[in-house]
C-alpha cells in the first residue's frame, strides 16, 4: 500500500529507515547519549547523512522509571521538532508518544507521524492525527499500561491478537479521519510480550503483511534478541539484523532502528533476493 506520512509520500515498494532519536536521559540502548538537545540534533544530522528517511523522536523511555508528565514531555520534544523541521524539510519526523496533548503540540511544530508505541492508551491520539493529516503507528501491546513490563502475559495466538488489535486500531483511526494511506501497523516486539511471543511474531510476520496495512517493525537491540543469543545490550546487532532479514523477507515496510546503515543494507539485500528491488548495478557475466 502507498504510504503517506503527512507531507511525504512513498511508492508501494519503498522501504524506510526510521532512526531512533532519544531526548531522554535513560533509554536502554544509548543511556542518555543524546539527552542534550545539541547531541540529539547531531544524531539527527548523522542519521540523515546515513540515509534515514524518518527520525523517531522520543521524550520518554519505554521502560518503567521516573514519571514524566505531559508538560515535561513537551519540553523535551516540541522545540526540538521545530528545530529539526527547519533544518531538514525533506525528513519525515515521527514522535514517539502515547499522549494526545503531546501529539497535538508536535504536529503543530511540524511532526508528520505519531508513533503510538503503547497501542491506543489515549484514544484521542487518533483524532489528533486526523486533525493534522498526520500518520499514526498502531501498535499491539496486549492492553498493558504504558511503561510497564510484561508479566506472565499469555495469548492463545499472539499473532492473531496482534493482527486483531492493530487492524482494529488502524480502522478506528481511519474512521476518525486519518488517511487510509497514513495508518501503519506494528506488532511491537517485546511490548506486552515475552521472548517467545516476539520470536513468533517475527516468524509469522507475513500474516501481518497480508492484512494489507503497511507494517513497521521495531526490533533494534531488544531483549528478545538478547535472550535468544544470551547477549547484553551493545552486542545484539547481528541478532537484530537476522530478525530484520526475516521481517524484510515477509514484507515489512518501516524499520525502527538504532543502526541505519547496517539495517538498510540488510533490507535492500533481502528485498533484492525477494525480487522486489533491482540490484544496484549488475555487469558480472553480462558484459
Amino acid at each position: 500500500m502507498t504510504l503517506k506520512l503527512r507531507r511525504h509520500e512513498f511508492a508501494d515498494d519503498a522501504t524506510l529507515m526510521m532512526a531512533i532519536v532519544n531526548r531522554t536521559p535513560d533509554s536502554f540502548y544509548d543511556k542518555g547519549a543524546t539527552w542534550a538537545e545539541d547531541k540529539a540534533f547531531e544524531r539527527v544530522a548523522h542519521v540523515v547523512s546515513q540515509g534515514a528517511e524518518i527520525v523517531d523522536i522520543g521524550g520518554i523511555k519505554a521502560a518503567p522509571g521516573v514519571e514524566i508528565g505531559a508538560e515535561e514531555e513537551k519540553d523535551r520534544v516540541v522545540d526540538f521538532v521545530v528545530r529539526v523541521r527547519e533544518a531538514f524539510p525533506g525528513l519525515v519526523i515521527s514522535v514517539d508518544t502515547w499522549r494526545a496533548s503531546v501529539g497535538a503540540a508536535v504536529c503543530e511544530a511540524g511532526a508528520d507521524v505519531l508513533n503510538d508505541a503503547w497501542g491506543g492508551a489515549d484514544p484521542e491520539l487518533a483524532d489528533v492525527a486526523a486533525a493534522y493529516d498526520a500518520a499514526i503507528i498502531c501498535t499491539h501491546t496486549g492492553g498493558v499500561t504504558p511503561r510497564t513490563r510484561p508479566y506472565r502475559i499469555e495469548y492463545d495466538d499472539v499473532v492473531a491478537a496482534a493482527i486483531a488489535d492493530t487492524v482494529a486500531y488502524a480502522e478506528r483511526a481511519v474512521a476518525a479521519g486519518v488517511d487510509p494511506r497514513s495508518a501503519v501497523i506494528d506488532p511491537a516486539h517485546d511490548f506486552g510480550k515475552n521472548t517467545f511471543h516476539s520470536l513468533e511474531l517475527t516468524r509469522r510476520l507475513d500474516e501481518m503483511v497480508a492484512t494489507g496495512w503497511p507494517v513497521l517493525v521495531s526490533l533494534s537491540n531488544k531483549d528478545f534478541v538478547g535472550e535468544t543469543l544470551d547477549l547484553p545490550v551493545g552486542e545484539r546487532l547481528t541478532g537484530t539484523l537476522a530478525a530484520t532479514a526475516v521481517c524484510a523477507l515477509a514484507g515489512a515496510r518501516i524499520y525502527r532502528v538504532h543502526e541505519v546503515v547496517e539495517t538498510r543494507q540488510v533490507v535492500d539485500m533481502v528485498n533484492t533476493i525477494a525480487g522486489r528491488r533491482l540490484p544496484a548495478r549488475a555487469i558480472r557475466g553480462l558484459q
Binding site: L278, A282, G285
Partner: protein
Amino acid sequence: MGAPGIVRDVSAVPEPDSQQKRHGLSRRVVLVPGVLALLPEYAGRTDPVAELREACVAAVSWLTGPVEIVADAQGRRVAEHLLAVSSGSTGSTDAGGTSYLVVANGSACRSEKAPGHLDERSFGFDEEVDKALRTPDRAALSGLDEALGAELWAGNVSGLRRLGELLAGAGAAVVDYADDPFGVQYWVMRWECAS
C-alpha cells in the same frame, strides 16, 4: 589498452536519397555488441552500459525497412530488444530496402579482469577487426580467423565475417561507439550501402 575512444558524429550520417529509399536501392547495416546487460531482464538500479545503450539505440533507430538480424541466439534477443525500444521506421516495407542488424563483438580477453582473462593476442585481433570495419575492408572481414576469435572469446565472429558480404558498396563506417569498458571490445557502427 590501445582501445580507440568513443567516437560519435551522427551529423555525418548520410540520409538516404528518397528515390533510393522508394526503390530499395540503399541498404543500411548496423553492428552492435551482444551485451546481455542491454536486456531488460538484467536491469539494475543504475545502468552499467548507459553510454553503450544510447549508442545502440541511436544506431538501430537509424535502420529503415524490414530488418534482418544476423546474430546467434543470445545476440538475437539483444537485437530484438533494441529494435523494440528504438524509434526507427523498421518494419515498414516502403521505407527502403532490407536493413541488417549484426550482433557481434571483439575479444573478451583485453584485461586481467576481462571475462576471458588477459590474452595479449586480443589487441592485434581487435585492431585488425576495427580497421576492417571502419574502412570497410570486406576481404579482411570475410577472412577473419574464427578459431582465433573463439580462443579470444570474441562474440559471433561468423557475423563479423558476414559483414564482408553485407558491406558491398558501403562507404566508411560511422562509429557510434568503440571501446572496451569491461575488457570486451565493443563496436557500434553504421554503414550506408549503395547496391
